[in-house]
């Protein structure tokens, strides 16, 4: 499913956080948002998944007007993996993932065998099948993040939003999470902080600074020494990694 955001502007407490940003994600594309902390990536994503109301702009998921549709309607098609996933009450991993079925259930409907299969499958995809009965709060950060991803997968979304899904994770889980997401073959819009990782996994990148899109396009076309200095205020050398052939960045 494709997603388009048109001329989104968001002002929070008198500050313009997002200034007239438009972007689009084609069917099956993996699109990344990069930019320094506080550039408005998260706020932009939150307005797309309806947590923050933008002052101006439109968001379409396929034919649906996201901002005017009910949360329930959107949640049937759009999954979100957010940044903060702490709880004050404990659930088992299985229960956490089963909650991904919520959008597809009536209030009185109980979980069917099909739901159990979907949940088992989602757990398998993130390699947590053996963890089904573990308590969520005893898991490590990386495991928690994978549970949340499994929940989003169990939601069977046609579009996925990720807000820095690999934050605080060690490299193994960073790669694992992004590979699992990539393998879903659905439209993805992700805020990422690791530039080389973003350049490997993303088809298209949007570079954001102070609430504005500075550049957008294929990673290889837009990630230059000049742009990175402009965005992050650092000196670096972008080169082709001789081993993988991917783009790599050396910070100077």
């Amino acid at each position: 499913m494709n997603l388009t955001a048109e001329h989104l502007s968001i002002t929070l407490a008198g500050t313009d956080i997002v200034k007239d940003i438009s972007l689009s994600v084609e069917k099956g594309q993996f699109v990344g948002l990069i930019g320094p902390n506080g550039c408005g990536k998260s706020t932009l994503l939150k307005s797309i998944y309806k947590v923050i109301k933008p002052q101006k702009g439109l968001v379409f998921l396929g034919e649906k007007d996201v901002l005017k549709s009910s949360a329930r309607m959107i949640s049937k098609e759009m999954g979100v993996v957010g940044q903060f996933n702490e709880l004050s009450f404990d659930f088992t991993v299985h229960e956490m993932v089963m909650m991904g079925r919520t959008p597809h259930k009536h209030l009185m409907e109980s979980d069917s065998l099909k739901d159990y299969d979907i949940v088992a499958d989602a757990l398998e995809r993130v390699h947590l099948s053996a963890y089904a009965d573990r308590s969520y709060l005893t898991l490590s950060g990386g495991e928690k993040q994978r549970v949340i991803l499994a929940r989003a997968i169990a939601q069977q979304p046609k579009f996925l939003i990720l807000d820095e899904p690999t934050n605080h994770l060690d490299i193994k889980y960073q790669l694992q999470i992004l590979s699992v997401v990539k393998s879903l073959n659905i439209g993805v819009l992700a805020a990422l902080h690791d530039l080389s990782m973003a350049s490997v996994y993303c088809d298209i990148l949007y570079v954001i600074k102070q609430g504005e899109v500075l550049a957008s396009g294929r990673p290889k076309d837009i990630l230059t020494n000049e742009l990175i200095r402009q965005v992050y205020d650092i000196n670096c050398e972008v080169y082709t990694n001789p081993i993988t052939g991917d783009l790599a960045i050396a910070y100077l």
Partner: protein
């Protein structure tokens, strides 16, 4: 290789589903045993008291009274007084205990979910102090005024106070947009303090010793008011709320995940949170105006049950309701039998029993109240 993977997946899935089904039957076992325990407890508790009645006779008296049949099982030389003691005094009281326990446990569960805080209880919205203020006002001032205000009983005033406090807390917490759980807890604390101060103010200037005594008795809670006449209203209210919340398990589960996550799962918490609080405050208000303030039950029963069946409200709500009933039946038996010639206020008993249990759970490692 693909086949091996598919096979592994198949066994994994069926294994998984298998253990889930086992889990489900464990849940049924818990529910059935609790139901049986409640049934047995009713028989035992109507037999215990100043006058001891053989369990068998209690059972058949209840059966005959409820079904209207003549079973002929009650011995001919049975004491006629037994019938009155059971049917007019003890049975209504046990029923009231059951309903109160169920209602408090339900409201505690709902409140803990609504404010996402393990320390929430049915009185968090200032309901207890509001009700106390209403009762204090009625006992020490209200009756002197006469007319319409004087006509209303203590219970009605307590109810008015409870609801007024809840409305104030909800209003205060939603000033400036969204109602967050922190704002609710703070608003509840403020209103509690304020109502407490007003109550003390009235008590301080009152010359009415008898009145002050009855207030302190009232704030300690008691099921002594139980009679058939008080039961229908309270039963209807608690039963309706129970039926409603039994089917809200999905919403209550996502509530624990927080505002934002719930929204991405299609559920707008703001709306549900307000609805739940209004319903809980009505239920708690009705309970308080009948039995006074019975603390700790609504706080501790959900935690005890959670440590056995987990946080999933599909299981938590029904088990908490049943366990709340059971807990209350036995605390009341204790309250009315522990001292000869009289009874302890049940609020004292629930706190005396509840606090150590709570401490134990705090010390015990396997249940962390959400912390690690």
């Amino acid at each position: 290789m693909a086949i091996a993977r598919a096979q592994r997946k198949l066994t994994n899935n069926s294994l998984d589903t298998g253990s889930r089904i086992q889990n489900r039957s464990l849940f049924s076992v818990i529910v059935v045993s609790l139901l049986a325990a409640v049934g047995v407890s009713i028989i035992v508790s109507v037999s215990i008291g100043q006058v001891s009645i053989p369990f068998g006779q209690s059972f058949w008296i209840l059966v005959e009274q409820i079904t209207g049949l003549q079973t002929g099982r009650i011995p001919a030389d049975a004491n006629d007084m037994f019938l009155d003691v059971i049917w007019q005094i003890r049975f209504p009281r046990v029923l009231l205990a059951m309903i109160t326990g169920a209602g408090l446990a339900l409201c505690g569960t709902v409140m803990q979910a609504s404010v996402q805080n393990p320390l929430a209880d049915p009185f968090i919205l200032g309901i207890s102090s509001g009700a106390s203020l209403g009762a204090t006002f009625s006992i020490l001032i209200g009756f002197g005024i006469g007319g319409f205000i004087g006509e209303l009983g203590v219970a009605a005033w307590a109810f008015i106070g409870a609801l007024a406090a809840a409305i104030l807390v909800l209003g205060l917490a939603s000033i400036g947009g969204k109602t967050s759980s922190v704002k609710l807890i703070l608003a509840g604390t403020v209103i509690n303090a304020l109502c407490g101060a007003f109550s003390n103010f009235i008590v301080f200037f009152a010359k009415n010793v008898e009145g002050i005594r009855s207030i302190s008795f009232w704030t300690m809670g008691s099921l002594a008011a139980a009679e058939w006449g008080t039961l229908p209203l309270i039963t209807a209210v608690v039963l309706t709320a129970t039926l409603f919340f039994l089917f809200q398990f999905r919403v209550m589960n996502t509530m624990l995940l927080g505002e934002e996550t719930a929204l991405t799962l299609g559920i707008n918490l703001n709306h549900y949170r307000r609805l739940y609080m209004v319903i809980s405050s009505i239920v708690t208000g009705v309970l308080v105006c009948t039995c006074g303030i019975i603390g700790f039950v609504g706080l501790i029963v959900p935690h005890m049950v959670r440590s056995v069946v987990g946080s999933n409200h599909k299981r938590l709500v029904p088990v908490a309701i049943l366990f709340g009933s059971l807990f209350m039946i036995w605390t009341d038996v204790f309250a009315r039998t522990v001292i000869t010639h009289g009874e302890l206020p049940i609020g004292i008993v629930t706190s005396l029993l509840g606090a150590p249990v709570f401490m134990y759970m705090l010390i015990k490692k396997s249940y962390g109240f959400g912390g690690k």
